[in-house]
């Protein structure tokens, strides 16, 4: 592999990481503002216009807090767990396509790498994300952390199954694991105006995926493992300053990952009406992608501001007894339809 190609890939990675970390920081701001408005209050308004510099203030606060390590914690694992959570949260962006296949000088502009098994890569990275949480909960040597960590990771591995099963329907329709070809198989329109996005034939799978993804990222209404009234703060009780910030970043980065995946797999990725001059037509796909991801993030925040949380046994029962059978039924139905269509 030529050195120049390696350097270009590193530049792409740095740009994606910069954009992603900014999006994550402002997702926190967005959530605070929207939840506040839903609760008839203002949210952050003092730091900068409309509180836009609040993430900066939060970052400074978290960086300068005292760094405490509890006595009796397993130091090596205690220090490595937040890093593991953040690394696995960020790694999924290596395969997500942000725009159409545009090449400048032989390098893909809008995707870091187009793996043939892109979807499996994202699933494998999110499976490894469970370790950050379970090891953090255990290594803190505290009851709240242990219980929170075990509950959270049990929830995550249960809903990973529902996610995987609901995605198989999409795979059957598009015939490829590569994310870019899945998006490209959603081009065109039914009857001229309804876009051929996977959300229409796979509506059940879409709902299944969204619900399971909210549970996978430990967000309300599935956030019992980190609820303050239940377990102090769950698996990140004993973490302070930058390590806590890494868990926070990892949670919101997981949210953004799931939103990007939902856009790419169900909503047609970057596809949308193209108009205007050439340079505008190059940027418009990125705009449509960002708007769709923003829509999903708003949905996440909206659900958080509206619904009460599930009890843990209700949560696990819902995952195993409702979502998995529904996803399996969707799989059977889709396979039947494809078999009858191509007999």
């Amino acid at each position: 592999m030529a050195l120049a190609a390696l350097i270009y890939i590193l530049i792409k990675i740095m740009i994606v990481l910069l954009v992603l970390l900014t999006v994550v920081a402002y997702a926190v701001w967005f959530e605070r503002k929207v939840v506040a408005r839903m609760q008839s209050r203002w949210g952050p308004t003092r730091v900068g216009p409309h509180g836009l510099l609040q993430p900066l203030a939060d970052a400074i606060k978290l960086l300068t807090k005292e760094d405490i390590t509890p006595a009796g914690a397993f130091r090596l694992i205690y220090l490595a767990a937040p890093g593991l959570a953040l690394i696995t949260a960020l790694m999924a962006f290596a395969v997500i396509p942000f725009g159409p296949s545009v090449q400048a000088g032989g390098i893909e502009l809008f995707q870091i790498s187009d793996l043939d098994i892109g979807l499996l890569f994202v699933l494998s990275v999110s499976s490894m994300g469970v370790y950050g949480i379970v090891l953090a909960g255990w290594s803190s040597n505290s009851k709240y952390s242990l219980l929170g960590g075990l509950r959270s990771s049990a929830q995550m591995i249960s809903y990973e199954l529902a996610i995987g099963l609901s995605l198989v329907g999409v795979l059957l329709l598009s015939g490829s694991l590569s994310l870019r070809s899945i998006v490209e198989s959603q081009s065109g329109a039914y009857w001229g105006f309804v876009p051929r996005w996977n959300v229409f034939p796979q509506f059940v799978a879409f709902l299944c995926y969204l619900t399971a993804a909210i549970a996978e990222t430990n967000r309300l209404p599935f956030d019992l493992p980190e609820a303050e009234t239940e377990l102090v703060a769950g698996y990140h009780t004993e973490y302070s300053s930058m390590k806590f910030a890494m868990f926070f970043l990892a949670e919101y980065a997981n949210m953004v990952t799931v939103s990007c995946l939902a856009t790419v797999l169900f909503l047609g990725g970057w596809q949308g009406p193209l108009f205007g001059p050439d340079w505008l037509q190059m940027i418009l796909p990125l705009l449509w992608f960002s708007l769709k991801v923003l829509g999903f993030l708003f949905l996440y925040v909206w659900i958080r501001g509206t619904l009460p949380r599930f009890r843990y046994d209700q949560l696990m029962a819902f995952g195993w007894k409702v979502l998995v059978p529904v996803a399996l039924a969707n799989l059977v139905g889709t396979s039947l339809w494809i078999a009858l269509k191509y007999r």
């Binding site: 694992i77 499976s127 379970v134 591995i157």
Partner: protein
């Protein structure tokens, strides 16, 4: 280039495996085993079997090892005690193991000529072709394995039931 990667990942797999044996606390052993799985997945990837590599990470490192880690945490397994029984074992055992490994290596080098060794990219298995083989040629073993897993699940449910 590729031999460098091979030695890095194979060396990492061996190092993690040796670490698994040496560590006293079971959680570090479990984490070393995860490292072994990840190194093996990288080796599969270099051979060209990308589906197998992804499935190795998802199933082995992401599900089976999570259960290992759960069990270690829930049973609160502590550090194991070392009983310093016999120095003879330590002083003769380690050289004997090295000799055994050297013997196996030399026999392998002598028996298999250079061009029978596996090359990188030797097994390009597109996921579609794996799926076709699995459901067309190997359908019976596939169904038998799924019955086996069903038996294991039923056994687990029976064992975990309360006595009533």
């Amino acid at each position: 280039m590729y031999p460098v990667f091979f030695f890095i990942f194979a060396g990492a797999a061996i190092a993690f495996a040796v670490n698994l044996l040496i560590q006293r606390h079971p959680i570090y052993s479990a984490l070393s085993l995860i490292g072994v799985m990840a190194s093996l997945a990288s080796l599969y990837l270099m051979l060209g079997a990308e589906f197998i590599a992804a499935v190795q990470v998802i199933v082995y490192a992401g599900a089976i090892m999570v259960l290992f880690v759960f069990v270690i945490m829930l049973l609160n397994a502590g550090e194991e005690e070392r009983t310093h029984r016999s120095r003879l074992v330590r002083h003769i055992g380690a050289p004997l193991i090295v000799m055994l490994l050297g013997l196996i290596t030399s026999v392998i080098y002598r028996e298999f000529p250079e061009d029978a060794m596996v090359r990188f990219g030797d097994f390009p298995g597109q996921t579609a072709s794996i799926g076709l083989r699995l459901f067309l040629d190997y359908l019976l073993p596939f169904e038998v394995v799924s019955i086996l897993i069903l038996v294991a699940i039923i056994g687990a449910v029976v064992l975990a039931q309360k006595e009533s």
